[in-house]
């Protein structure tokens, strides 16, 4: 995952996904299901560690009614997505969004380890 992603200048919320435009003019699409599935909060992250819980998380997300989230900037480093259903706790760093836009693993292959802060 790139530690210095290019600057995200436009985020267009569509019905099922969002269209991201970066300063270079490059555009990417990220589905809301992918955003929800990669939620970095301490509750969702551990579920991606194991195959079974990861699949279960994906199924739960896909079973939710489609909805367009509210998107709010968090400082200068991240975005927060607010949904009527499901988890809204995650704060998504721009690096994470960039990884998703490029179909890369936003966790960079690392398992989530509880702990910290």
């Amino acid at each position: 995952m790139s530690s210095n992603p290019p600057e995200l200048i436009r985020l267009e919320r569509r019905d099922l996904d969002m269209l991201l435009t970066y300063e270079s003019g490059d555009q990417f699409t990220v589905t809301y299901d992918d955003i929800r599935y990669s939620c970095p909060c301490a509750k969702c992250s551990p579920l991606r560690n194991e195959d079974e819980s990861s699949k279960s998380l994906r199924r739960q997300i896909e079973a939710l009614s489609p909805e367009k989230p509210k998107v709010k900037p968090v400082g200068k480093y991240a975005l927060a997505f607010e949904w009527d259903s499901g988890c809204s706790s995650g704060i998504y760093r721009f690096e994470r969004i960039w990884a998703l836009a490029n179909n890369q693993d936003p966790d960079d292959g690392r398992a989530y380890v509880h702990g910290v802060w």
């Binding site: 436009r10 985020l11 509750k43 400082g75 200068k76 480093y77 760093r93 910290v116």
Partner: protein, 336 residues
């Protein structure tokens, strides 16, 4: 308290005349009126204070109050108007660190006026209300939370650029009360030390992040390293035996001086913590015995040595925080 403008009106009574409420009803109405006034006041205070920053840690003894006072003084050094709200009801020690030991709060027309410490930093703390510093505060949750709401709603802070809120360790009710009472909190600064035991139990952080929904501005590593200095023959090799028997090699300069930073606990715990949680690392603060002396004497290290190593480290942390909250709308991001 000003007389409540409330009375009971019973439309079914003869001639629709006002009835006098019972003392219990009157008390309930007065409490509701005071609560409403306080709520409105909290909203108003929220507007007068530009930035509100919570300082927390999962573990006690990591130096939260030291960091809170250091951040406040470092911001004040830059010319900002700053206040500190010491929410640690049972163990308040901010006043001592700010040279305000033994001071009392001034109350005028039902409003509490904060005490002013070094560099004009305004301070509100439970310590100001204790008869003597050895008196323990043994309050159950609701009383404690009532006091916190009073500290937020009934305090005349005036216009502030920054309000630093210092919490007791852990994830108890206090941060939740503040987050629910004070609008538009910019975020929280998490203080840690480079030890494994300073890492928090995951369940606490889950409950906490879900309940609060306050963004993490970043992690500060306190007691990061202790720098020792000495001298010897110029350009000579020096070996220092550090904690855990780890050897540190360095070379003296032309004048024979050398310095070595020893990691008293571990190395880089705060940074890895920040990376693990995907939040910014705000910086590391050195292990500085001067903080202990300064805390006891009431002269903060930043005040006694404004150009010192610790003051510089705090200044860097403040820069990182200001960078985080400098733009709430992201880097020119258009969201549609």
């Amino acid at each position: 308290m000003a007389e409540s403008p409330l009375s009971v009106h019973d439309p079914n009574s003869e001639g629709s005349q006002d009835m006098k409420p019972s003392p219990q009803q009157q008390k309930q109405m007065e409490q509701a009126y005071a609560q409403m006034k306080r709520k409105m006041s909290m909203q108003e205070i929220g507007k007068k204070i530009k930035h509100k920053i919570m300082v927390l840690s999962g573990k006690g003894g990591v130096g939260k109050s030291t960091v809170s006072t250091g951040l406040a003084l470092s911001l004040a050094q830059r010319g900002h108007s700053v206040g500190i709200l010491d929410i640690d009801i049972t163990g308040p020690n901010v006043p001592k660190m700010m040279g305000l030991d033994g001071r009392r709060l001034h109350v005028e027309e039902g409003r509490i006026h904060p005490a002013q410490g070094h560099l004009g930093v305004k301070v509100i703390s439970m310590a100001f209300l204790l008869e003597d510093e050895d008196t323990p505060v043994v309050w159950r949750g609701p009383i404690k939370l009532g006091a916190i709401q009073q500290f937020i709603g009934d305090v005349e802070w005036g216009q502030l650029d920054y309000l630093i809120i210092d919490f007791p360790p852990g994830t108890s009710d206090e941060p939740l009360t503040v987050a629910q009472s004070l609008p538009d909190i910019d975020g929280m600064v998490i203080v840690t030390t480079p030890q494994d035991v300073a890492l928090l139990d995951s369940r606490k952080s889950i409950t906490f992040s879900e309940s609060l929904k306050v963004p993490v501005l970043g992690v500060v590593e306190n007691m990061s390293g202790y720098t020792i200095r000495g001298n010897g023959p110029s350009n000579s090799q020096v070996t220092i035996s550090g904690p855990g028997g780890k050897s540190h090699n360095t070379t003296t300069d032309e004048e024979g001086n050398f310095s070595v930073t020893l990691d008293i606990f571990k190395e880089g715990g705060g940074k890895s913590t920040a990376e693990e949680f995907g939040v910014p690392f705000l910086g590391a603060l050195p292990f500085d015995p001067g903080f202990v002396r300064g805390g006891d004497d009431g002269v903060h290290r930043i005040v006694s040595e404004p150009e010192g190593e610790s003051a510089i480290a705090f200044s860097k942390v403040v820069e990182s925080i200001m960078e985080q909250i400098g733009s709430s709308s992201g880097p020119g991001l258009e969201i549609i």
